[in-house]
Amino acid sequence: MARAVTQNRKIINTAAAWTVGLLIFFPILWTILTSFKTEATAIADPPVFLAFDWTLENYSVVLERSNYMRFLWNSVIIAGGSTILGIIIAVPAAWSMAFVPGKRTKDILLWMLSTKMLPAVGVLYPIYLIFIKMGLLDSRTGLVIVLMLMNLPIIVWMLYTYFREIPGEILEAARMDGAGLKEEILYVLTPMAIPGIASTLLLNFILAWNEAFWTLNLTAAKAAPLTAFIASYSSPEGLFYAKLSAASTMAIAPILILGWFSQKQLVSGLTFGAVK
């Protein structure tokens, strides 16, 4: 009997997981489908699911009207730059917190995380004004810095968790084996930390890629990334759902593909190394 109950449970759990998964994925699927419809079919009532005349027209119009490659390039630079800069700052910070913790290390970590609870819009004005003064408005440099600062708490926290998982005895063994600090870092710590650093890199690249508040508010034309590219199709006059969908699909495609190929790394990153 016990066996039958578990079996039922399994089916229910699986069904529930699929339902939730499909619900979450549905808007993305709908966007992709809409991008292949004509503007008229896109707003048809009742909505059409699959039986429509598939067309690539929206994509060609969008590509003709705006310079997709420039937006894409901006996204790559901004997401990549902020992630790399963040890692460079976060590795030594997390390192020292994990291996030479002080009395207030835990407090500092919590304080850093608490800054993420502040609504971004609360600091929009000050940052906007600073950007004007420093001439950083609508520049990739400015966005790299802002996004790096926004994600830094998460990067530090993730790396800290990873470093903490490296057993202290292994480092002591290296010391007993005659390794100095340099050799210890080079031959023992770094190779063991690389998986953690890799998933942190990946997650933060995705976070920065998808970031829409700062990228929209601090750019105009020059430094605008793909988020601005999507926004430019949501005109107040409306009724360009198909083109908006095509633009959205093109904007999320690179990150979807990247995410798909790095699922394993991402999951271990998102669970913060809790499942091993």
Binding site: I170, E172, R175, M176, D177, G178, V188
Partner: protein, 334 residues
Amino acid sequence: MGQIKLNQVTKAYGDVEVIPPLDLTIEDGEFTVFVGPSGCGKSTLLRMIAGLEDLTSGKVAIDGADATNTPPAKRGLAMVFQSYALYPHMSVRKNIAFPMKMAGIDPEEQNRRIEAAAKALNLTDYIDRRPGQLSGGQRQRVAIGRAIVREPSAFLFDEPLSNLDAALRVGMRLEICEMHERLKTTMIYVTHDQVEAMTMADKIVVLQAGVIEQVGSPLELYHSPRNVFVAGFIGSPKMNLIEGEEAAKLDAHTIGIRPEHIDVTATEGIWQGKVAVAEHLGSDTFFHIHETGLAETITVRAPGEVSFRHGDTIHLTPRLDQIHRFDARGLRIE
């Protein structure tokens, strides 16, 4: 060479003194075991010798040279950890090679020593595997191999066998003893298991709360424990400790008699009691006896063929020449 000398070493964490001033000399080539209950400071003491733990005060000398402030890497000691502490991203070969690489030994010599160590430790077939693909026993061998190849002046073992199952533990115990016979290098071995201590050591250091209770050969500790703590800690099953009237008869506060030094019969003896539990091991039988009026339980070790059962009344006769006497402070009376 590997003489290690501790001179008035202490260790304190804040206000808590875990090791009060302590002196100890470990001679070159000696197999010394630190034994004591958990939390007695034995691992801390070992880590202080290794240099992984700073001294609060005092001095450590290795081969006569002051090493108090020498970093662990420069002390010329090798350590085997309880958790094995292998490098998970390196193959067995690279793990064993690591200390030699750090010492800058030339690659040909490195290979020669790796091959020799792998052969001696039965690791040849696993030499290219990672630690994650090995069993506990194999990992422990790799850890030992890594310690051997650098030819240290002393080996430090921190409870190296406690993660292994019982059968493997006995095997590894013998291998470590044989290794000591072969290499004749100083070894310091930390354990909470007094059987390991008794079987392996040239010299046992019994510790309690950071204080050395007694230093001596296994048989010295067995035959003349200096105090009640050592008497109760060394020997298995534990010595019976009896206070009160029986002790007073012999002018002592406490008397101790080992289970193997009490004879049992069904009919006559000095003491009597009821068998609570009889453990038949085949070669021996252990009786746990209640209602003796001496102590809560008296343990007796009898030959395997003696077969009393639960509830039987039996008579006990201690061998008088084997009784240990202790005064009110717990110290041995000669």
